[in-house]
């Protein structure tokens, strides 16, 4: 998957959960990623965040940091 596509998908998820009530949106995004993304996709986005997370929504960055 191209980095652009991965970033785009993660940002789409973040955009949805940003609109949801509550204070734990980052956890919601992290849960969604854990529930639906295959480990190699998770690894890729974790690596991307470790490398600065360029292009990623702030909420997505915080969520990815919660994924071990």
């Amino acid at each position: 998957m191209s980095p652009e596509k991965m970033i785009y998908m993660a940002n789409q998820i973040a955009t949805f959960f940003k609109s949801q009530p509550g204070t734990n949106q980052a956890e919601m995004v992290a849960n969604h990623l854990r529930d639906f993304w295959d480990p190699r996709m998770l690894r890729k986005i974790c690596d991307h965040v470790a490398g600065g997370g360029e292009g990623l929504d702030d909420l997505a960055v915080r969520a990815v940091r919660m994924i071990p």
Partner: protein, 969 residues
């Protein structure tokens, strides 16, 4: 139409009771001295039939309202004058009926004599011989003599002789109309009973037929004066053919083959309605398909696909021998099953050794049975040792699964199809039932003709908006991609105008969540007026539609892929669930949220754990207790991490981490978006196993081809859109040698498994043992009950027609915030139009089946619907070749000018690989599920001379890749 089944009656007894069943207070009467108790409103004819007393009849049949025209069913009733027709006379308490007397015998004999005087007596060579009600009735009334003759002086008073005795042409004779590919109309055999006309009106709801002329000149006529059946509005559903008591309207297959000698009840393998059929056979040859009157989804009706389009099963393109090749540049080699399976198993295992356990996966088929789907996902989970399984639902209704799971707690529609009979307001969103789900559409139209109101939310003016005796109260022609804005504006109107059902929300939903939701939705930015600029919808019309849905009585929402196949597909599904919860329209007959599922078993394939994150029964693989249950039965460990979805598999293939795919009964190259990307993904794989009937487009990139079996050739079950588990029965042996479940088992065993299923019933038993919602399902139960709707378990032994009756599956219904996010697929100077895609009645999805039937007479190629205004500014005329281009690719097809689409919107179907509409669609997808955004693509249309270079290259590659070497001696 709906047939009330008297409990004492064998459910398999499908004899004609003469008139429709009624319900209500019971009435007792005597017929020929025997007492019978039936619901009020029942006809005397039907009451007699309950006693097994058959009153002779010709114009009556129990899926049509009584008509009273043939006068054959006259009876005598004590205390009443004359001889009333038993079909039109309702029962009354204490009534005493006599079905036989000298008087009624004489009347019936006279009636039959008149009928037969104008009927050709070629019974022995007639196609209806053995299946003719006229013949039966002549026998039943004891007709022995016909006194009427043609005048000796010439001239004829009949309809069946082309020339009279003097050789003059008979003006009353009309030639046979053979224009329809599946049935013929022979006017010379018509008795003008009106059954065909009434079937077209009452059952199908198309009103294509009429009786032209009066008295002796009365003739059945399709369409206008110059029409034949093919050019008329006829949709070839076959209801008229089924209704015809003579050979006037007759299946061509019966004309050719003769009458069937046995029948097997089975389930259609086309759309998600899941119609029950009687496959009528001669030995192992199928003579015709007749919709089964006790089928609970279809109630005796069918469409052109289910009834007639089965010829693909014997099409010469069908591949019956396994084939392999080392690389996709080579021609195919036909090999033994053993060699093919060993080749496949070695390659797949080799890939895992080289690239890791997760480098291979499967795509289960939404066309195959539950049992087959279950085995394919078991193959990846238990034999491959990963969760890389996905199914066609990814690209159609995965947002339904997610959205309804989040809001209601169950990933399925809430009602049965019968529910529509109690609906007052129907909302159809992003669905085109008359084309996509035709039998449901007929049932819906029947309800609309009885007075229910209709709201259509669709960019196109679909047939339901206005057709014979149907007119939508509101059509909201939204701009593609603005569903969430429209649904939220409907909710805005309901909430701000105080039209919500507070009592329902307080008891069934979380009141605190409602507060959040109400605050969100009441923001003026969601108002119809504010959103009109985005959606293109007249705010007053939107408000009126919201009011109607909220206050018009039982409100039911039916939706299709126009909802799900968007970047915000899941959000729209949630928005729809919100509307139903706000208005209390969940949990009783006549209401609900009803996804119209695309493929015959797409519900089932989801139920069976086809998704990479869920085991059967929608339970996440992360849950140790669920895994343990399957591990105990399967004897192998299950990977706790979710696998790849179809688009992710293709991405991973391009990345080089996904190398092998077993694809059963799905053509991802034609059906999935962004064809070039799919092709690149497939081309990057080292072992693609296609298991299908035909060398489909995906097979162009395959290394192993395993021939599949049709639904006629195997046992199993399909689960339709109403969660109904229907039996599929083997009516002939698999032409390829094995049913599909057997092929999967052979592959699993070649890869080291030790599966020993000998019948699909054993697979269903395993499903029931591991999946709580199927706990009560087995083949004996299905045999006894005909079908059941899941959940079917100890708590619901008869299944569950309506869900969320006493509360939601998840506990409290959850109203979710649905913020509109514009898709990034936007129009601009290069691509100023929006393309949306859909289906047509006569073709089905990628057309692999229907293109190999005579259905092509109705739709031989995909066309581009374009508004005359947009066509004019581009210099495009009707029928011209046009180039259709998006940022993903371009193709060419012919233009069809129509105001069904608004200016700025164009539309096409995706049934033909020559067009490859998906070369245009992009890789944008639903935020939650990756369901592709098929329904919105920014495009440009320009005049063209013919197919594009890409199409020609594609076709050349396809042709090359389909070469098959002659089998080695």
């Amino acid at each position: 139409m709906k047939d009330f089944i008297i409990p004492t009656m064998d459910p398999k007894d499908d004899r004609d009771m003469g008139t429709p069943a009624r319900s209500g207070a019971m009435v007792t009467l005597t017929i020929d001295g025997f007492e019978v108790t039936v619901p009020e409103g029942t006809s005397v004819m039907r009451a007699a039939a309950e006693l097994d007393i058959q009153v002779p009849k010709l114009c009556a049949t129990d899926n049509l309202e009584a008509f009273g025209s043939c006068r054959l069913c006259v009876v005598e009733i004590e205390g009443r004058r004359g001889t009333p027709a038993s079909c039109t006379t309702p029962v009354a308490e204490g009534m005493a009926v006599h079905t036989q007397s000298k008087k009624v015998r004489k009347i019936r004999n006279g009636v039959m004599e008149l009928y037969i005087s104008d009927h050709p007596l070629d019974c022995l060579t007639c196609s209806a011989n053995g299946d003719c009600e006229l013949q039966d009735m002549a026998g039943a009334v004891g007709l022995r003599d016909v006194r009427y003759e043609a005048p000796k002086t010439g001239g004829l008073a009949n309809h069946f002789e082309a020339r009279d005795t003097s050789g003059e042409a008979n003006p009353e004779w009309l030639p046979k109309d053979d224009s329809n590919p599946y049935f013929s109309y022979d006017p010379s055999k018509c008795i003008v009973c009106n059954r065909c006309v009434r079937a077209c009106e009452e059952v199908q709801g198309t009103f294509a037929l009429t009786i032209e002329g009066r008295g002796f000149d009365s003739r059945v006529s399709a369409g206008g004066a110059l029409d034949d059946f093919l050019s008329s509005d006829c949709v070839s559903c076959g209801a008229c053919v089924q209704a015809c008591p003579t050979a006037t309207l007759q299946e061509k297959s019966v004309i050719e083959m003769g009458t069937p000698d046995r029948s097997v009840i089975t389930t259609c393998a086309y759309c998600g309605v899941g119609c029950s059929f009687k496959a009528e056979m001669q030995g192992d040859e199928l003579v015709r398909m007749v919709p089964y009157k006790h089928g609970k989804a279809n109630r005796g009706h069918s469409c052109v696909k289910g009834r007639f389009a089965y010829g693909y099963a014997h099409h010469s393109d069908r591949i019956l021998n396994p084939m392999i090749r080392d690389s996709v540049d080579e021609p195919w080699r036909e090999v033994s099953w053993d060699e093919a399976l060993t080749f496949a198993a070695n390659r797949m295992r080799g890939l895992q050794e080289t690239y890791g356990q997760k480098s291979i996966g499967v795509i289960t088929s939404s066309r195959c049975t539950n049992e087959e789907t279950y085995l394919v996902q078991k193959l990846t989970r238990s034999v491959f040792g990963n969760n890389n399984t996905d199914t066609c639902a990814r690209v159609c209704h995965s947002p339904t699964g997610y959205g309804l799971g989040q809001t209601f707690g169950a990933s399925a529609g809430t009602q049965d199809f019968d529910s529509v009979e109690q609906t007052d307001v129907v909302v159809v969103i992003g669905a085109n039932p008359t084309d996509g789900h035709p039998v449901f559409a007929s049932r819906l139209k029947k309800r609309l003709r009885a007075g229910a109101k209709l709201i259509v939310i669709d960019p196109r003016r679909i047939d339901l908006v206005k057709s014979a005796h149907i007119e939508a109260a509101h059509h909201l022609p939204l701009r593609p991609g603005t569903n969430v804005a429209v649904v939220t504006a409907l909710a805005y109107t309901i909430v701000t105008e105080g039209l919500f059902d507070e009592e329902y929300i307080r008891t069934r939903c979380d009141w605190d969540e409602f507060q959040d939701y109400a605050e969100f939705v009441s923001n003026p930015r969601h108002s119809p007026e504010e959103t009109a600029a985005l959606t293109g919808i007249d705010p007053e019309a939107l408000r009126a539609a919201a009011r109607l849905y909220a206050t018009g009585g039982n409100g039911a929402i039916y939706y299709g892929l126009g909802v799900t196949e968007h970047s915000q597909g899941s959000t729209t599904v949630m928005g729809i669930a919100n509307l139903a919860m706000l208005t209390g329209n969940i949990g009783r007959p006549g209401v609900g949220v009803n996804p119209l599922r695309g493929q015959n078993n797409v519900q089932g394939s989801c139920d069976m754990g086809s998704f990479p994150h869920e085991l059967p029964g929608y339970r996440h693989v992360k849950n140790a207790d669920v895994r343990e249950m399957f591990e105990a039965v399967w004897g192998t460990p299950i990977d706790p991490e979710p696998g790849l979805r179809i688009p992710n598999m293709l991405d991973a293939a391009v990345d080089g981490t996904f190398k092998g795919l077993y694809c059963q009964g799905e053509d991802i190259l034609q059906s999935d978006p962004d064809t070039k990307h799919v092709a690149a993904g497939l081309a990057a794989m080292e072992c693609v196993i296609v298991h299908d009937l035909f060398l489909n487009e995906t097979a162009n990139y395959a290394h192993v081809f395993l021939p599949g079996s049709t639904f006629l050739e195997k046992d199993g079950t399909f689960t339709n859109a109403e969660r109904r588990i229907n039996r599929v029965r083997e009516v002939m042996k698999p032409l390829n040698g094995y049913a599909d479940w057997e092929v999967t088992q052979l592959l699993a065993n070649a890869m080291g498994a030790d599966w020993n299923y000998t019948h699909p019933a054993q697979i269903m038993d395993e499903i029931a043992a591991t999946t709580p919602s199927f706990a009560g399902v087995d083949y004996a139960v299905l045999e006894e009950k005909g079908s059941v709707q899941w959940p079917c378990n100890e708590a619901h032994p008869d299944g569950t027609p309506l869900m969320h009756v006493d509360g939601f599956v998840r506990g409290k219904g959850r109203l979710m915030i649905t913020e509109y996010v514009a898709t990034d697929e936007r129009t601009g100077p290069r691509f100023p139009l929006l393309l949306t895609t859909g289906r047509i009645l006569s073709q089905y999805n990628v057309g692999a089946q229907t293109r190999r039937t005579q259905n092509t007479v109705w739709h031989a190629e995909d066309q581009l619907e374009i508004h005359p205004h947009d066509a004019e500014t581009r210099g495009v005329n009707e029928g011209d070749w046009v180039r259709l281009a998006s940022r993903a690719g371009e193709t060419a097809l012919r233009a069809k000018l129509t105001d069904r689409v608004s200016p700025g919107v164009v539309y096409t179907t995706f049934h033909h690989p020559d067009t490859q509409a998906n070369v245009i669609t992009t890789d944008f997808s639903d935020w939650a599920t990756n369901c592709p955004e098929y329904k919105v693509t920014a495009v440009q249309v320009s005049p063209s001379n013919g197919p594009t270079d890409w199409q020609e290259t594609y076709n050349a590659q396809a042709e090359r890749s389909r070469r098959i070497l002659p089998a080695a001696e």
